[in-house]
Subunit: 496 residues, 2 copies
């Protein structure tokens, strides 16, 4: 039997860890290198301290873990999650009273799940550590990679001696770069692959806040607001969201243009008033001093959008996750798309290796030639590019639409009609774009195409409605009854 | 007196060397770090072995050296150049005979100058080495930079000991990244500055060839073809150019889509036939075996186009030249724009330091605060971005137009009218876009605006011509007499 391929994964975040697991299950000799210390060790600054600690995992992420075929991973991961069946839009109605409106994501009760990034990462690392063919290396920085000779150089920051660092040289058959938006793998890959690359910052910063658990003993719930919703305080230029955590708290994110952030940085004491004006009710949930403290203590971080192509070089290198397609968070798909990358990448490699459903993956992967792997990686780049670009665009569009000062009536009407069709005529396979993105595994690019098609069909339907006063009137009254500004805004912030 | 600022330049190519010279002349303590060995040492592979060895230097590049105010630099550099007063278009006329047509660049005899990249680099390094406040370090690779703490880390590849490399840590007030398209400075700067970044490869590869000197003793010239022209063999999809060297040879470049390159790679023996078909006359200048040998030996390299913004971070980092705006070579402005970066960057820093024409630059630079330098760098980014993007677009447009399968008559007519106006009515300040780019120091963005304006004026002129039969007829006949396909193509390849 041939010796198994050696796969080096750079980056031990959730996406890199899942990729390592997929490779390990196919018998590869896997080495994972992570720049930062092991996040499982006490006292370690969270691995992803520049990333949001709360995430929504949905079908694509779950499906990728399902396909990892690990006996307990999915169950263990999902046990710590909280289902969110819809959005909860917060605001003030015309008479000035606080207002909450729930909007289910799906007529049949499908949910997305609030998950703790570190917890997920912990579990994946624990699984990897238990596997005999996986080695984990922390505090290792990739300083160079030659994708022609399949050699890479890493610096071990823990074993530095004065100004002399220990540099190790390693060989590999395949290097998988899952090292995030500022990927070092991508940087070195670019010297070998003729990569078209585009990165852009949007003029919005984000900052994390927290709603503490319920402290009122008489309350039946440990949560101050519904744990089964993703809470949104919409605004034209600002937005505040809250996602539940298992301990009864909510992790919250404020999104705001950099100019306003600067203004508040100059006078953080204005924060409670600012919140009362734009995010009614939040100061009842977060005390003013805690609001100010979080704003001062937590970083104000930018949002980057990255598109590139191809994702690979020859048979030896490929980038996945944020390294390949960082996106703005307004569709809640960043990590889900990264997990899906792993599933699709390995399904394509499997096929080129000749792996069928009934196994023998290890020996087939071991006997795979480098030209077969090169073909697989080329197919991965070709297949994945349109989908990665599509979800990137969807996320960015939601941001742009979100900021457009006028919420067009046509947009709101379409949103409503789509949901109406989806709920009332599910057998037509009519789903909202949001549902297709969050609850299916359809290609993102295909969803965009379908959605465009649905839009055209809707125009005809609308013409039909006008021609049939009965249906038209029924639709109109249903629409009117739900058509508060918050409903419209909620559909509109269709992102999560 | 305050101690002088410490300026670290990464990259000792022509642009980095010129930047180091500018800094040194302002009293900075300058350190230059170059990844590769000293190109002046015998046996060193040329520093820029992945770059074309022949270049055309024009007004912007010359002006930047002029402003370096070094007693002998400009004179020494220009002594080795060869003026090119126009294009020489090569082809076959309708009866199949070989054909050459000269097209002057400028009615008043202005020229661009063929220059040897290594020779230019040699001179600049020699000048730097003679200065007491400049230190040159070769074989040093930038591995990290913290633009907040102003510290950087470099690996000394010459003093490696097994797998333990010597890493040095240095401090700096200002780091200037002139380390080319794959800039490490830019990579690290991106982690500090919110940089929008775009890179794109065009589907054209280039390969270098050489026309040897005249070997016929009876010939009066050591050149086989005119030394005072830039020779162009145009083609719809391909192009071959030749630039003179002082020894009587010509350095030539073939540009070709990657598919055709691959076809020829599979059968290099087809090269002479291919050349005879597309570049008539070249096989009389380059023997067939030499043509094949060059194609096999020399790399087939891609062309990258890079745009980004901003170019700086705070008061501590800035990128210039290809690191900031690699462009395709179809306007002959790459190095010229890089040299101009240096002139403009230091003129802005000078102004913020309070430097007037009459000097005291050293003490003023020494007493410049970091917030003053931050303002200067921010101004540089703001001022330079539109110009860098404009020349990038111009270069790319020329490439796109070059490849358009139909040479539009309107385009050719405009080209002709512009040249007609420029030659016959110079006092109107009417210049072709090419002349403005190559013979002036006007901002590139302003040239694009002016050129658009000229285009509009031309429409009116044209209307006038039609209305005045006398002028119209005169213009028509002049036009007809010059209007061979090669003339049109030549104007069209207006790039160099």
């Amino acid at each position: 039997m041939n010796s198994p391929p050696k796969t080096v994964v750079i980056g031990a975040g959730p996406v890199g860890s899942l990729a390592a697991l997929y490779a390990a299950q196919r018998g590869h000799k896997v080495e994972v290198y992570e720049l930062r210390p092991d996040l499982r060790k006490p006292g370690t600054i969270p691995l992803n301290f520049t990333k949001s600690i709360n995430l929504a995992i949905s079908e694509r992420g779950i499906n990728a873990m399902r396909h990892a075929s690990h006996s307990s991973l999915l169950e263990a991961v999902m046990a710590g999650t909280i289902p969110m069946y819809g959005r909860m839009i917060h605001g003030r109605n015309s008479s000035g009273a606080l207002f909450q409106q729930a909007q289910p994501y799906d007529a049949r009760g499908k949910a997305i799940y609030a998950i703790d990034r570190s917890g997920l990462n912990f579990r994946l690392l624990d699984v990897l550590e238990s596997m005999p063919n996986v080695s984990l290396f922390f505090n290792h920085k990739l300083t160079g990679a030659d994708f022609g000779k399949r050699r890479a150089w890493l610096e071990d920051s823990q074993h530095a001696d004065g100004n002399r660092h220990t540099e190790i040289e390693i060989g590999f058959d395949l290097m998988i770069g899952a090292d995030g938006a500022h990927s070092a793998v991508r940087y070195h890959l670019m010297k070998f692959s003729r990569m078209d690359y585009h990165q852009e910052y949007i003029d919005t910063l984000w900052c994390e806040f927290s709603i503490g658990p319920q402290t009122d003993d008489k309350s039946a719930s440990k949560f101050k607001i519904s744990p089964n919703h993703l809470h949104i305080w919409p605004g034209r230029e600002f937005m505040f969201i809250a996602i539940p955590s298992a301990d009864g708290s909510f992790t919250c994110t404020l999104f705001m243009p950099s100019k306003q952030v600067k203004d508040l940085e100059n006078d953080p004491s204005a924060l409670p008033t600012f919140f009362d004006l734009h995010f009614p009710g939040v100061t009842d949930l977060i005390p003013a001093e805690s609001l100010i403290w979080s704003f001062k203590k937590n970083p104000h971080l930018p949002l980057i959008s990255i598109k590139c192509r191809p994702y690979h070089h020859g048979s030896s290198g490929v980038i996945i996750g944020d390294a390949a397609h960082s996106m703005v968070p307004f569709y809640g798909q960043g990590m889900n798309a990264g997990f899906e990358d792993v599933r699709i990448l390995f399904s394509i490699i499997d096929r080129h290796a000749g792996v069928c459903d009934n196994g023998a993956a290890e020996s087939l992967h071991a006997s795979m030639s480098s030209s077969q792997r090169a073909e697989a990686l080329a197919e991965y780049s070709a297949v994945r590019e349109p989908d990665a670009h599509a979800i990137n665009d969807l996320a960015l569009q939601n941001y742009i639409e979100m900021r457009s000062s006028v919420l067009s009536k046509r947009y709101r009407l379409r949103k409503y009609l789509e949901e109406f069709m989806s709920v009332n005529f599910p057998s037509f396979g009519w789903h909202t774009k949001y549902a297709r993105v969050s609850f299916s595994n359809e290609g993102y690019a295909e969803i965009v195409r379908q959605s465009k098609h649905q839009g055209e069909v809707l125009v005809y339907c609308l013409a039909g409605l006008v021609a049939s006063p009965g249906i038209g009137a029924a639709a109109y009254f249903t629409f009117r009854s739900r058509n508060s500004i918050f409903s419209a805004l909620g559909s509109f912030f269709g992102f999560i």
